[in-house]
């Protein structure tokens, strides 16, 4: 797997220790508090995993960090740029793959990635070159002329990833990027993301797959009920155990029963 044509993150003028710094983040939907005072520091160049049970507030947190959802309170900085006071600058540094958001799926794959490139203010030539590279890299070249609405779920994820990468962001925020992606494509995407972090980029992924996060991420944060339960390097957080066991221990709620008797016919 070569990383030929991989858009490399462009160096920033002022290198900061944190690619993403979240302090005191809060968000409530009516009575329901989705994010309840989250503090999180994502080191520059890290491959950061965000794990938590369903409804923990992962998507809400990532939406606020990327300027898609206005927080009730708290401060979010991307490479030292405040997301909510200088959104245009902050957004130019971030590539986003959102979960549960539709794409402009009446465009072909090639048109969609081109669209994202041009929206970011890139020139036609740069856009065309990077779109070609990304389609090759994500094995979408043959599907480039197909409407995105006709893509499979995994291909849709891949084209959304291409859209997030096309402007060579410094920080990639990926919400459930591996859902319904086949193992080979997932491995390819992992390679791409690793190459990206080695070149100084930072990746944040949210996932349900503890195995994947443990193997892939060097840093991890466990959140539940809108709070950070543990954060740090993956080795520190799992503390000698597997991430999955540690996660269950932290979050709780595991039930020990064997199901109804008729399910145990042998």
């Amino acid at each position: 797997m070569s990383d030929v044509g991989m858009p490399r993150p462009e160096p920033t003028a002022t290198p900061t220790a944190s690619a993403l710094q979240i302090t005191g983040l809060r968000k409530a939907f009516g009575d329901k508090v989705a994010v309840d005072g989250i503090d999180l520091s994502v080191p520059s160049g890290s491959f950061f995993g965000l794990v938590g049970p369903n409804g923990a507030g992962k998507t809400t947190t990532l939406s606020m960090a990327t300027g898609l959802l206005r927080p009730d309170a708290g401060r979010i900085e991307v490479l030292g740029v405040d997301v909510w006071s200088d959104p245009t600058h902050a957004k130019s540094l971030v590539g986003v793959l959102s979960d549960g958001i539709s794409l402009f799926d009446r465009l072909t794959g090639e048109q969609l990635v081109t669209y994202h490139g041009l929206l970011n203010g890139m020139s036609r030539e740069t856009t065309a070159q990077r779109v070609g590279d990304l389609l090759d890299l994500l094995d979408l070249r043959s599907a480039g002329g197909t409407l995105v609405v006709d893509y499979s779920a995994g291909m849709t994820k891949k084209v959304a990833l291409a859209c997030a990468l096309v402007h060579a962001p410094r920080l990639l925020v990926l919400d459930e990027p591996f859902e319904s992606v086949d193992p080979i494509s997932a491995a390819n995407i992992r390679d791409i993301l690793h190459g990206y972090t080695q070149n100084g980029g930072t990746v944040i992924v949210s996932s349900h797959s503890m195995d994947l996060v443990q193997r892939m991420c060097d840093h991890v944060a466990v959140i539940a009920s809108g709070r950070v339960l543990a954060a740090g390097t993956t080795d520190d957080v799992r503390a000698g155990s597997t991430l999955e066991d540690r996660f269950v221990e932290l979050v709780g709620g595991r039930q020990h029963n064997e199901g109804p008797s008729w399910l145990r016919t042998s």
């Binding site: 090639e110 041009l118 929206l119 609405v149």
Partner: protein, 524 residues
């Protein structure tokens, strides 16, 4: 097996009523209405027995032809309404095509529409009580006609069901089918108003139809009564041949559908970037290119345009029936008023895909300007043509400047107003991929009010050119007309720019809130 499928069909129909009382109420009301119509038809057919034979023949041929057309067309509109016995559901059972054909034929015949048509067809017998031979032939011809109805409906449905799986075709049909529905008003008016004058034409229409597969079967008893046995024999041949061909076509389609499931085929891959290669490579150009693709590919956009070509038709109809040319003057401004607020639902059409604009940090004014740019590319020529062509036809080009001023003023003002409106509130619209005419859930009164309010604002802001235009037309002053043109274009352009700026700033500040509402609108 035939009996099984027949009872299955009725069981499904009756079970449907168990789901809610209102469905029963609706069915009872619908049933009573249907029975009423049927009774009226039968009464009419009885009454025709005492009219000249020519009338009974004309009514029979026209009514029968209409029935055949209805049987073919209705399944298109209501596709997916009665899928109880669709081939795709029966495919998994080991059924030979011939048996299935018989079974589907019988269930089609003995469903509610089939029974209604059959009763009406048999009732044609009453029209010929004074002509014994025709009265004997009529029920057979009626049954033959109903057979043609059922066979034609099924054959066309089977033949197009494979096509129906193709999205582009489905999208096209779902829009195209509404053209006659929108035109139904004027057509009915035309028929009602001009029945006396076209009363003489009806027999001629009936004569033509009687030689076609549509009307042949229905014409036979009348031809016999009117002393044209030769014609009757030929038409019987036509009707039988029609039935045979339809059954063969249906049989073939059925056999293919049973073994080769119509796979949902993707649209053919297209090469290149399309509009993205032609619009300027700026964020604004990108938005415009994206909008252009959607205007071409998304039926929800095309659906909102469908009333535009109908405006001239309506205007022509009005000017004929009122015997005045003034509706022709109004075509351009009316098209402009319609196109002016089409952008008001644009963000709503985007749905959560709008997040792309938000997460790339696209400037709100670039978003607004791009959408306006694409619409103006065809809206401006449309308004100009809709104004100039009718005026040229009636030789009143002197009125062109005033009307162009009014039309373009309305259009440009509308661009500005809808740029602000679509950043302010969302319209409940059908989701991408749904029928453009499906009324979306939660279509609240407030949103509809928002739309009418923006329309009202467009007219208020365009008052200067509207007033000038009216005065210019009344006085017949070309000079005032030119003033109207200048004022309309200049004022409209200024309002458009202000609207784009304002709407853009609204998007910049309220984008995240708008996205939150878009998410909620989709239940996500």
């Amino acid at each position: 097996m035939v009996a099984h499928l027949l009872s299955l069909r009725w069981r499904v129909l009756l079970n449907g009523f168990k789901r809610s009382t209102w469905q029963i109420v609706a069915a009872v009301l619908g049933g009573l209405y249907g029975l009423g119509v049927l009774a009226a038809v039968v009464a009419g057919l009885v009454a025709l027995a005492f009219a000249p034979e020519r009338w009974a023949w004309t009514a029979g041929v026209l009514g029968g032809s209409l029935a055949v057309v209805g049987w073919v067309v209705v399944p298109f509109v209501a596709r997916g309404y009665d899928q109880t016995l669709s081939v795709s559901k029966l495919r998994q059972f080991p059924l030979p095509a011939d048996r299935l054909l018989v079974a589907l034929f019988v269930t089609g015949l003995l469903g509610i529409p089939g029974i209604v048509t059959l009763v009406a067809a048999l009732a044609t017998t009453f029209s010929w009580v004074q002509h014994p031979l025709s009265a004997v032939l009529a029920p057979f011809c009626g049954v033959l006609g109903v057979f043609v109805c059922v066979a034609a409906s099924r054959a066309v449905e089977t033949a197009t069901s494979a096509l129906g799986a193709k999205r582009r075709y489905r999208e096209l049909m779902s829009v195209a089918i509404f053209v006659p529905l929108i035109l139904a008003g004027p057509l009915i008016g035309l028929v009602g108003q001009g029945l006396s004058s076209i009363g003489d034409d009806l027999p001629r229409v009936a004569h033509a139809l009687s030689w076609s597969p549509l009307g042949a079967a229905w014409s036979i008893p009348g031809d016999v009564a009117l002393g044209r046995p030769g014609e009757a024999a030929l038409k019987a041949l036509i009707a039988l041949a029609t039935l045979g061909v339809l059954l063969l076509l249906w049989r073939r389609g059925l056999a293919t559908a049973l073994v080769a499931p119509p796979a949902v085929t993707a649209t053919a891959a297209s090469k290149g970037l399309g509009p993205f290669a032609r619009f300027p490579a700026t964020p604004t150009g990108a938005v415009a290119a994206r909008a252009a693709v959607y205007w071409l590919r998304d039926p929800r956009y095309g659906g909102s345009l469908i009333v535009v070509p109908l405006m001239p038709v309506l205007a022509l109809f009005l000017s004929f029936s009122l015997e005045t040319t003034w509706p022709l003057f109004a075509i351009g401004p009316a098209v402009a008023a319609l196109l002016a607020i089409t952008l008001a639902a644009d963000v709503s059409y985007d749905g959560t895909a709008f997040a792309a604009h938000l997460s790339t940090g696209l400037a709100g004014s670039a978003d607004r300007a791009g959408r306006v740019l694409t619409l103006s590319l065809f809206a401006v020529p449309a308004v100009v043509l809709a104004t100039l062509v009718p005026l040229a036809v009636i030789g009143r080009v002197d009125a062109a400047p005033a009307l162009l001023g009014v039309g373009l003023g309305l259009l440009l003002t509308g661009f500005g107003v809808s740029s602000v409106a679509s950043a302010l509130y969302l319209m409940p619209v059908p989701a991408a991929g749904e029928s453009p005419f499906k009324s979306p859930p939660g279509a609240s009164v407030t949103s509809a009010l928002g739309l009418y309010a923006s329309w009202a604002i467009v007219f208020v802001l365009s008052l200067p050119e509207l007033a000038l235009g009216v005065v210019a037309l009344v006085q017949g002053s070309v000079l005032l007309g030119l003033v109207t043109l200048v004022v309309g274009v200049a004022l409209g352009a200024v309002l458009m720019l202000v609207g784009i700026r304002r709407g853009g700033r609204l998007l910049d500040t309220r984008g995240p809130e708008l996205l939150t509402r878009l998410r909620r609108a989709r239940g996500a």
